[in-house]
Amino acid sequence: MTMSEVQPPSLPTNSPKVSPTQYMHDRVRWRLSEALPWIVAVGAFWVFPNYLVLGTQMIIMIIFALSLDLILGYAGIVSLGHAAYFGVGAYTTGILSAHFGWNEPLSGLLMGGMVAGVFGFASGWLLLRYHGLALIMLTLATSIMLYEFANVAEVWTGGFDGLLGITIDPIFGIFESDLWGKTYYWYSLFVLFLVFLAVRRIVYSAFGRGLVGIRENTKRMHAIGSPVHQRLVTIYVISTIIAGFAGALFAQSTAYVTLDVLSFSRSGTVVIVLILGGVGRLYGAFIGSIIYMIIEDELSRISPEFWEFGLGLVLVLVVMFFRRGLLGAAEDAMKRIRGASS
């Protein structure tokens, strides 16, 4: 008897008549359900016209969360200092505008991402030689050091008082910033869409699948010939560039940068966002960001002093009852419904 004659047990199977290239292409193909968040985002512009500033901040948070999801959810790199790159992006764009009069938004955005990427490469090359608790502590220490550096370099950063004097030109020389946040809502949404396309492409590529392999069994990835450190550094740099874009968008949309962009609380917040939404599942960043910012907005209005207690309670409940995040819980529920109906 040969392996080809051994009959498989009755597990659901799929047609083998597809080439590997076609197979990967099929995996990247968009599903109809993926249109939903974009329809919601576009519809929100008309349904919630008074909340566009908050909506812009949500979109920026989604971009930031996507950047962390790439390294945490797919490559298994735990970071408590990801705000470092958000902050580098924000300060780069802010300083270029406030000190050098570089007010063009798109190039300012690109510069924010690129400088964050350079910083990400320099730090990632060193940090990613460590794992587990050591890596967590090193990422945290990096962001703390950067925070203190920004505090000391107040000539450039404005220190504790924040960086003032940021002026951003109209986007494409046409769309000016407005009080209601309409322009920056669309601008941020457009950037999010481009970032999402790139992230989605990466996640479903052979490189992205290799990252999952690294997360699940680093030793085995070494043994099948994968240059693990090189791949981790690559995804780390991509992640930091995206975090830099988020920071740059933040600086452009608020025209103000404070030390808060580098704070531990920002690093912690983006981790909470992913835990809420679901780590390693792309749209978890969307769900988590929206839920987090709605909770923050509502609870801080109800109780400006104790709103974080409510947020903590929600987080405890999610971790206890929905370990795969809200999106994971929704997927499980859908599977149960489908199972029951079939």
Partner: protein, 234 residues
């Protein structure tokens, strides 16, 4: 035939300060296969781990394809042409069968299609995740994944472990096909003595971290001789 395709010289290796392998020396010509047998814990898996670079090498050298790889990083050894199928299979659980194969792909003769030809069973499972496979399917996938790296030396660590007899028979046939048709040099570590002795003409017996027999497999078909070399009571 290159008589020193794989050349281990006076190897001493282990985990940290603990030495598991002592004074291991053997050569393996290109295209030849060898089975390694021995009781549990005598260092068979550690020997494969040492060739792959997973242990700490204390002394000795490993030459592969006329190149000293003793200090090479693990992934460079894989690139040099060493494929390793570990005892635990170590399939990536959340990747599909196809993705498990694709993440290991490198240029060469082996492709996903060829793996599916060798193991048609896997083609039917291509979109199932690693954690949805049976033990036999996982073993096929582990071998397929190692082949996707287009190795010239394939090391398999107890591929029959935990498999039903009917699956072991089929696996034995597939491994024999690889030996005969794929122009591979194969090191097979096995607890299944029958499978090991029938797989290759040459057999190595290990005991307490050392090679105690290196010769013709047929000699070991005499149970008394086998037991004597394996340190078992007759």
């Amino acid at each position: 035939m290159d008589s020193n395709f794989l050349d281990l010289t006076n190897l001493a290796a282990g985990y940290g300060a603990t030495i598991v392998l002592e004074d291991i020396s053997f050569t393996l010509p290109k295209g030849e296969s060898v089975s390694i047998i021995g009781r549990n814990g005598v260092g068979k898996s550690s020997l494969l781990n040492t060739i792959m670079g997973h242990t700490d090498l204390h002394s000795g050298s490993i030459n592969f394809n006329a190149r000293d790889i003793s200090k090479e990083l693990i992934h460079r050894r894989a690139h040099a042409g060493i494929g390793y199928v570990p005892q635990e299979r170590e399939i990536f659980p959340s990747l599909t069968v196809e993705e498990n194969l694709l993440v290991a792909a490198s240029s060469g003769d082996w492709s996903v299609e060829k793996i599916y030809e060798l193991f048609p069973h896997l083609a039917a499972r291509r979109q199932n995740r690693g954690n949805q496979l049976s033990g036999g399917e996982q073993q096929m996938l582990a071998i397929g994944r190692a082949l996707m790296g287009n190795p010239s030396l394939l090391m398999m660590d107890e591929p029959s472990e935990g498999l039903a007899p009917v699956i072991v028979d089929a696996l034995e046939q597939s491994i024999a096909d690889l030996r005969d048709k794929a122009n591979l040099t194969i090191i097979l570590v096995e607890q299944n003595i029958r499978l090991a002795l029938s797989f290759s003409k040459r057999c190595i017996v290990m005991d307490r971290g050392q090679i105690v027999f290196d010769g013709d497999s047929t000699v070991l078909k005499d149970e008394k001789v086998l037991h004597a070399h394996m340190g078992l009571a007759a």
